[in-house]
């Protein structure tokens, strides 16, 4: 947490709103990559910040981050309607392929479908670690703090995830 928030009370709305601005997107991305969009990451972010506000007297600003990530994760695990397997990542169309042959385009499409499935089949821990690092560009240390694990573990998860994805995606053509 940055210095200007130290020794300040989260019960003050300007402090609370600054915490929201700094952390809500990270929290949302974390939930999205871990559980997919069908499990309403927006709502869980709202619930987590609501809990932070209700406990504003007991949480110091430096602890807000780990408080939010823990609460959000528990909230997700407790949610009864939680959908277990289906992770609906929206696949954006790859751009700038206008000069490619239909065969190439088809292969690309199959490659993407295999990748989508492979990502969904990763464990939640592998997926969130890998995607936060590769898509959001989060440093190993930052991810370690978010997830409350060691830097070494982050490194291992990213590597394992990459290995699994490659095994499932890189099917050699005969």
């Amino acid at each position: 947490m940055s210095d200007h928030l130290k020794n300040k009370n989260i019960c003050k709305e300007e402090v609370f709103s600054r915490i929201f601005t700094t952390l809500s997107t990270d929290l949302f991305n974390f939930l999205y990559y871990k559980y997919g969009e069908n499990n309403n990451p927006q709502d869980i972010v709202q619930a987590a910040f609501e809990k932070l506000w209700n406990n504003c007297k007991d949480v110091v600003p430096e602890k807000a981050k780990s408080f939010l990530f823990t609460v959000a994760n528990n909230e997700m695990l407790n949610s009864l309607s939680r959908k277990k397997t289906v992770l609906n990542y929206s696949l954006q169309k790859p751009k700038d392929y206008t000069n490619e042959t239909p065969e190439y385009l088809l292969e690309e499409k199959e490659y993407h479908n295999r990748l989508k499935q492979a990502i969904e089949e990763l464990t939640e821990e592998q997926r969130v670690t890998f995607l936060l690092n590769r898509i959001e560009g989060k440093k190993h240390q930052e991810i370690a703090e978010m997830l409350g694990i060691s830097r070494k573990a982050v490194e291992k998860r990213i590597y394992t995830a990459l290995k699994i994805l490659r095994e499932k995606v890189e099917i050699d053509k005969i």
């Binding site: 709305e13 609370f16 709103s17 929201f20 601005t21 809500s24 997107t25 949302f28 991305n29 999205y32 990559y33 969009e37 927006q42 972010v45 709202q46 910040f49 609501e50 506000w53 209700n54 990542y89 929206s90 696949l91 954006q92 790859p94 490659y111 993407h112 990748l115 989508k116 990502i119 890998f130 995607l131 690092n133 590769r134 898509i135 959001e136 190993h140 490194e155 990213i158 590597y159 990459l162 994805l165 490659r166 995606v169 890189e170």
Partner: protein, 304 residues
């Protein structure tokens, strides 16, 4: 260094420059690179911090505020309660002598209310209604400031009173929008009589009567059962842009600066109440305007 270590170090960005260029020329790297590029298409959808915060602020922060204030004021309130009891007794005895009746307070802000005869009112953002529960059995009068949709139970005459005019019905569904220099009544079923300073009209279902800055208009709308704002959208038909901006400000509780924009030009279209950037796009793109979201205010202007 074996292959696994090399990839791990590359992932962590720990390879030296020469090691990196060596690694990046391998066929293995080409495959990884392709994978990584494809992975990036799975990026999470954008998170609308501004909008999400205002949701949180509406639902949580402000309700909590009143509770904490209440708790702090508890000792004071105990004393106040004694006075209130005393005053109430005094008021009622006074009231019996004078036989006057007191109106209820204003009910405001996007809520749904059932009137004493179970007629239904949906109130739009930045709007309020007021009615007297006591006198209800004698006369069904509702004062309105802003916009509301009414579903009136059949019965005696029902009046909606605004600064600009009065709407009289027996039992029907209609929407009244009374804003500064803007008055609009839409009838959805039954018959609605509208009385303003200028004129008196009777509206049939799916017809609209409106007065914008003194100019009267009457037209019909396509098949719609309820106003669009009940579905989270504001709809406009040839309305001066300044009124569109005012509605946007009310819906999102924001300030909009229009700079060099021609705010008198007519706008037809709609915007959503759920996503500020989409809403801004839907009102600026058709008019070739740009918009910018700064911290607390939004700037709209002519595209260079």
């Amino acid at each position: 260094m074996n292959n696994e270590d090399k990839i791990k170090k590359w992932l962590a960005g720990e390879l030296s420059e020469s090691e990196t260029s060596d690694f990046e020329s391998t066929e293995e790297f080409a495959k990884i690179d392709k994978l990584m590029k494809a992975v990036n298409t799975f990026k999470a959808p954008g998170y609308d911090v501004l909008n999400e915060y205002s949701k949180l602020s509406d639902n949580v922060l402000h309700s909590k505020r009143t509770i904490s204030l209440f708790e702090r004021m508890k000792p004071v309130l105990k004393i106040a309660a004694i006075f209130i009891v005393a005053l109430t007794i005094g008021y009622f005895s006074f009231n019996q002598i004078n036989s006057t009746s007191e109106n209820q307070g204003w009910i405001a802000e996007q809520s749904e209310v059932y009137l004493p005869d179970s007629s239904f009112v949906a109130i739009n953002s930045g709007s309020k209604i007021k009615f007297s529960e006591k006198k209800w059995s004698k006369e069904r009068n509702v004062e309105l400031n802003g916009e509301a949709f009414f579903k009136v139970k059949k019965g005696s005459q029902f009046n909606v009173i605004t600064e600009q005019g009065m709407v009289t019905v027996l039992g029907t569904e209609f929407d009244v929008k009374a804003r500064e220099n803007y008055y609009e009544v839409t009838c959805y079923s039954g018959l609605v009589r509208v009385k303003t300073e200028q004129s008196e009209v009777v509206l049939k279902p799916k017809s609209v009567y409106r007065v914008i800055e003194g100019t009267e208009q009457q037209y019909t709308i396509s098949d719609k059962a309820t106003p669009s704002w009940l579905q989270g959208e504001s709809n406009f038909k040839s309305v001066p842009f300044s009124f569109v901006i005012k509605e946007l400000e009310r819906q999102y509780q924001i300030k909009v600066e229009t700079g060099n924009t021609d705010i008198n030009q007519l706008f037809s279209g709609s915007f959503s109440h759920n996503n500020l950037s989409i809403a801004l796009e839907s009102i600026t793109i058709p008019l070739n305007l740009y918009y910018e979201i700064n911290e607390n205010k939004i700037v709209i202007g002519l595209e260079e």
